[in-house]
């Protein structure tokens, strides 16, 4: 079974600094593997363990994202494909177009796995777009995937219900965090990861933008809510009484 997993090197939201004017300092910002993409890699590895084959990691990003690609390889993926592009400057459709183009060059995949949403942008758009552009069935928000020969059964976790959906291989999916517990790579795996093959492709070459403009970011700003930051001390009973006093004074306790 050939398994493709899409992994994003996301901006680390906790580390992101805000400039004096309130705009985020994105140039040189720290990055990390998009949180739920760990679940996507884990699910790929789980399917490989059950059905043999290979797990190929696809990533659209700058050269700094190689770190995250290596992390996916250390978890156990067999090889990686890095499509170079500036992820902050492009929209979901463009990212998806590059991912689909890179996958088509690497041959036909039986299962394409993304996560439900990237931890920095959280659009949830790339996965269905990749499925659409590859022209294969798509079943998103998977919390369970079972494959038997050419038939797959997927449980979709929606807001108020769980749907069971049948699809034929090949198909594309996005996973939710409750699907599995991602493994941590061992030191040996981390060392071995640097020996695994990584192919580099130029995003503009494999999927030219043409005249399409897509979604543009006009501005970004951070306006943290002002809070009082009063720390209440004392024994539990003293602290509880002081807190209730404060809340009554605020008029928020009826």
């Amino acid at each position: 079974m050939k398994i493709a997993v899409c992994v994003k090197h996301a901006v680390d939201e906790a580390e992101l600094k805000i400039g004096p004017g309130g705009s985020p300092l994105l140039a040189g910002a720290a990055g990390k593997m998009s949180t739920f993409d760990k679940n996507a890699v884990e699910e790929g590895l789980r399917l490989k363990a059950a059905h043999q084959g290979e797990v190929v990691v696809f990533m659209v990003g700058g050269t700094e994202s190689k770190k995250t690609l290596k992390e996916a390889l250390a978890m156990g993926a067999d090889r990686g494909v890095l499509v170079t592009a500036d992820t902050v400057a492009i929209d979901a459709l463009r990212t998806a177009t590059m991912l689909a183009a890179a996958m088509k060059r690497s041959g036909r995949f039986d299962v394409v796995i993304c996560s439900e949403g990237a931890s920095d942008t959280y659009t949830g758009q790339v996965p269905p777009m990749v499925g659409e552009l590859l022209g294969i069935p798509y079943v998103g928000y998977a919390r369970k995937i079972e494959i038997d020969g050419k038939a797959a059964k997927i449980e979709r976790s929606l807001e108020d219900s769980v749907e069971s959906v049948e699809a034929a291989v090949p198909f594309a999916t996005s996973v939710v965090s409750e699907i599995n517990d991602p493994r941590y790579p061992t030191l040996i795996q981390i060392m071995q990861a640097s020996k695994k093959p990584v192919e580099e492709l130029n995003g503009e070459e494999i999927a030219p933008a043409g005249s399409r403009r897509g979604v543009e970011v006009l501005s970004m700003s951070s306006q943290p809510t002002a809070r009082k930051h009063v720390m209440i001390d004392g024994s539990p009973d003293e602290a509880a009484a002081k807190l209730l006093d404060a809340l009554s004074k605020e008029g928020v306790l009826k």
Binding site: A92, Q125, P127, G140, Y141, S164, V215, K228
Partner: protein
Amino acid sequence: MSGQVWVYSESEPVANEVATAAAAVAQGASAEVRMVDIGSVRPATRGSGGRLLLKGPAGHEVSPAVAAEALARAAKDLAPLAVLLGATRDGREVASRLAAKLGIGCMAEVAGLASDGQGMTGERNVFAGKVVAKVRCQFPAVATVKVGAYPKAAAQPGESQEKDVGPVSDQTKTVGREKKPAGAVDLRSAKVIVSAGRGVKKKEDLAILAELATAMRGALGCSRPLSADLGWLPEEHHIGLTGVTVKPDLYLAVGISGQLQHVAGMKDSKVVASINTDKDAPIFQASDYGIVGDLYQVIPALERALAARR
């Protein structure tokens, strides 16, 4: 030019919220709103302006794949300026597939929608809600509208239109559907919310938080791990980026670390108080009042103090 702004959501209440957003876009673009139904008319979608019924897809089970294909076929013929959907899980899929089929841009989970006539603008959370981005997309465009960001539109008379898009087949088959346990309260309208995090050791212990919430005439909410991963509370009780956005008078965070994704859903609360054993927990940065302490001691103390005052 009198273009159209289409509204579609598989959820009827959400469709009526999206209709309000669509009215703002339509006004800026001198366009008309069309509430789209697929397969059959849903009387509960009211909207403003008119209706568009897409005939062809059989039955009442409209999967995201079928909805996207039906909308794409109709859009190729009728050329709406914009198609707005609800940012539900299914809605995101329909919107993304539609945009990919048409090769046009798709704005994700936007609020504050407006149009300058040539395209539309909106605002959305990025970097786990730390930053708000203003985004723009040239017409024709697709967008998903943040759930809960707009009031539901009132019914308005308008023209009804039909379009036959032909039969639409689905490559996948839905073979079962099970309701998730539903919550009894609507957190969006709660004045007081006591919210539980992973600091709560086991499911049974939620009872003391529920008691406190009742004593404060409030509702019990939680962080994502408690609902999505542990299943201790219904999923609609989780607050944050992927859950509900709440604005109570009082938000009491108990055993919640205060990661950005959680704070994104409660940062507009009037007063925030928190209880956490870790004095460096980020929740204190997002709080007006903080108690560094063990919830298993502080919560009973709060209950005693409340009872003494009543």
